[in-house]
Every structure is written in C-alpha cells, then in structure tokens.
C-alpha cells in the first residue's frame, strides 16, 4: 500500500442555505501519482479540489495531506504553512498583473521571506523548467505574454516552493489545441521527473487519459467511477461509457 498524498474521508460540503455540493466523498490519492477528476460543470470537482488547500471548508468529513489533517487546522498560521506545500494552478492562470514575470514566478519564496538571491535563482530555474526564455521574459508583465506563456508562468510559480502536492484546475482549458497539447506533453515529462501528487480537474477525457494514472468521475457531488486510466475503454461503468462514446462519436463516420 503506497502512502497517501491526499486523502478524502467522507467529505461533504453544503453551503449555508444552498443544495449540497459534495456528498460523502472518500478517495485516497497515492503519493507521486496523478489523478484526473472528471465531471460536468457544476458536478463539484473544483469544490473538491479546493478542500485540499482549505479554500473550501468541508461541512463534514476530513481531508489529509501527507498525513496532516487540513480540516482540523485551527489557526490561520497553520493553514499558511500547509498551503505553501501545495501548488495551485488554475485556468485563468491568476498571475498578478502588477508584477513582472520573474516576480510572479518567485512570489511564493518572497512570501516565505527567502533571500533575494535565492528567489531570483529559483525563479530562473522554474521558468526555464516550464519551457520559457527567462532572459527575454523576466522583465515583462503578464499582459505582454501569450496565453500559453502565461500558463507556463502559472505552472512555474506553483512549482517554485517545490510542493509535494499540485492542484490543477483545468490548467490547459483556455488554450488553443496546439498549445494545449504542447503543454500537456511538457507537463507529462516534467511529472515523470518530479513525481508530485497531482490532482487534475478536467472535462477532457483525452487529457485525463494522457496525463493521469487514475480517473475519477464525479456527478452531483458523488464519486460515480474510479478506475485506472488503462481500464477506461473496457469499463462497463455507465458514466465512463458516456465519456468514451462522447469522444468516439467525433470520429464515427
């Protein structure tokens, strides 16, 4: 039994006065593996992802990251420490528009009060690792970059503090198909070296199969399928079959 990077135990979430969004979700993500979370818009996949770094507090149940409970953290200082060990990448990149690319990339280290020289060296390292020309781009601002470049900066920033866990919320969703496939290939080879525990929210089955070891489908706040990527095409699970046939019909003549 491999150690769990992230564990959800009967996690439920119902916002005050609203319908319940997550219903008793239990999942264990092995350390160093990539899990894709698939589901329709509004199925609760982003909410589940956000319980890991405490942006959403479950109504009941427990979330643990590398053995440490997120849900029972009482002080905001503890939450700050936990969050610095979790990288977070979102679709619209969330780069800070008033900071240069270099400062954006090294910002996690700046927050942790690391020395300037270390911040600069690390920013260079992660930007290059993400396939960017550091010297050409470091002084630029986010609006001066293409969508693909911005997404690379977003990834670089998430990797800067070398977090063991990476949360990715439709990271490549806003990119054109060619840029997206470049980014997917880059991320896959990066992950083969870094072995982060990755939770990837996507609605693209192809992306899930290409990047993830395991595919979990969520519907109306419940896990309806949970299987190895390799088993997807043979699965008899109706939810999985829906996804597979949605992809296949594109190629049917």
């Amino acid at each position: 039994m491999p150690t769990a990077g992230v564990e959800f135990a009967k996690v439920s979430y119902t916002p005050a006065g609203g319908p319940s969004i997550l219903r008793e979700i239990s999942l264990s993500l092995a350390a160093g593996t990539t899990t894709a979370l698939l589901g329709r818009s509004g199925s609760g996949k982003t909410t589940l992802l956000r319980t890991v770094n405490g942006l959403v507090r479950p109504t009941s149940g427990e979330v643990t990251v590398n053995g440490q409970s997120v849900t029972s953290l009482s002080s905001s200082e503890e939450l700050v420490v936990l969050r610095r060990g979790i990288g977070y990448v979102i679709q619209e990149t969330g780069l800070f528009p008033h900071m240069t690319i270099e400062r954006n990339a090294g910002f996690g280290l700046e927050l942790a009060d690391r020395p300037k020289a270390e911040i600069a060296a690390r920013a260079r390292e992660v930007l290059q690792q993400s396939g960017l020309d550091y010297d050409a781009l470091r002084e630029r601002f986010p609006w001066q970059l293409s969508g693909g470049q911005r997404q690379r900066v977003g990834l670089a920033r998430a990797l800067a503090l070398a977090p063991p866990v990476l949360l990715m919320d439709e990271p490549f969703g806003a990119l054109d198909p060619l840029t997206r496939s470049e980014m997917q290939a880059m991320f896959k080879s990066m992950q083969q070296q870094l072995h982060k525990t990755v939770l990837l929210v996507t609605h693209d089955l192809g992306e899930a199969l290409f990047l993830a070891d395991r595919v979990v489908i969520i519907d109306s706040g419940e896990v309806v399928a949970d299987l190895h990527s390799a088993e997807v095409f043979e699965s008899e699970n109706l939810h999985v079959k829906d996804y597979v046939s949605a992809v296949r019909h594109l190629f049917a003549k």
């Binding site: 956000r50 770094n53 942006l55 905001s76 200082e77 939450l79 700050v80 420490v81 936990l82 969050r83 610095r84 979790i86 977070y88 979102i90 619209e92 969330g94 800070f96 528009p97 008033h98 910002f107 996690g108 927050l111 942790a112 601002f141 986010p142 609006w143 920033r157 949360l167």
Partner: protein, 209 residues
Amino acid sequence: MNFIQQYGWEIGHLTFEHLWLTVSAMLFAVLIGLPLGILLTRKHRWARPILGVANIIQTVPSLALFGLLLPVPLLGDNAARLAIVALTGYALLPILRNTYVGINSVDPELESVADAMGMTSWQRLRKVELPLAASVILAGIRTATVICVGVATIAAAIGAGGLGELIFRGVASVDNGLVLAGAIPAALLALIADSALGWVEKRLAVRRA
C-alpha cells in the same frame, strides 16, 4: 499692475493659508479614510452605515456645517481648527468609498490564488490588494482634494482665512477685481492639484490586457 502691487503680498499669504487648510484636512482625511475603508472590506456589515454617515456629511451645505460646528467646544474658539475638521468631513466620503470599492473590485480569482499561495491577510493586503486598488484609491483622493480646495473658500466666512477672504470682501464691497483675486488662484490650485494627482493616478494604474 497697481492692483498686484497692492494685493500681491496678501494674495500670496492667503494662498498659503488656503493650501495649509486643504493639505492638513486631506492629511487627516487620508489617515482616517484609508484604514477605515480597508476595515470596511473586512467587515462588510459596517459598510452601509459608515458610508451612509459619510454621505450625509457630504450633503450638508458647507456654510451650514461651518456654522453648526461653531458652538462645539475646542472647535469654536479656533476658526482654522474648525475649518480643518469640517473639510476633513467633506474629503472623507470619496476616499472611504474609493478605498472600499477599489479593494472589493480586485478579481476574486486573484484573491483565492493569494490565499492558496499561503499569504497572510496582511501580505495579501500589502502585496496584492493595495497595489491593484491604488489607482482607484488615488482617484478618490483626487476628487476629495478638488472638493477641499473649493469648500475651503467658504471657510473665510467663519474667519479661518484662505482665498475666500478676498472673495467675501470683494462681494461685500462690490469689487469684482477683489473677487477674481481670490477666485482665480483658488481655481488654479484646484486645477494644479487635479492634474498632478491625475498624473500619479495614471502611473499607478495596472495594465491588465
């Protein structure tokens, strides 16, 4: 030429007084309005009543506000002090409102990224919210300054000095030259403050696309 010889020194002196009233009032207004506006973004429930009070102060006619403050102890016996308090009241609303709105309109996605990166709320304020809201906050300070320069002319009515003194004297003695001697420098002060702060505001604006 004769006119300038006769009133030049007085105009200079009164302009300085006018500036003194405006700058001190603005200083207090920023010292109160900025932290209070930030506080309101953390305690949304207080926003309506406090902005409401600032709004009401703003709607009181300036001559009436000066008059109303006259019997207040510690204020009534010093006209300049009273004028600064009243001007601070007028300057408060634009600063308060723009600070509140400026910080509230920071993209919620960026706020959640800030949290997710493990920022303390102080770091989030200093490194993300204030820089992104800076130009909106400065626009409020700019509006407040222009209001202050204008309202400060009324302060002469209670003997607080400033360029209003020339205007009031001119009106009383039906001397248009004297009215203009007060009005033109006051208008120039407002224009200069407006364009200087407008320039800073532009410099602080963050380009997003």
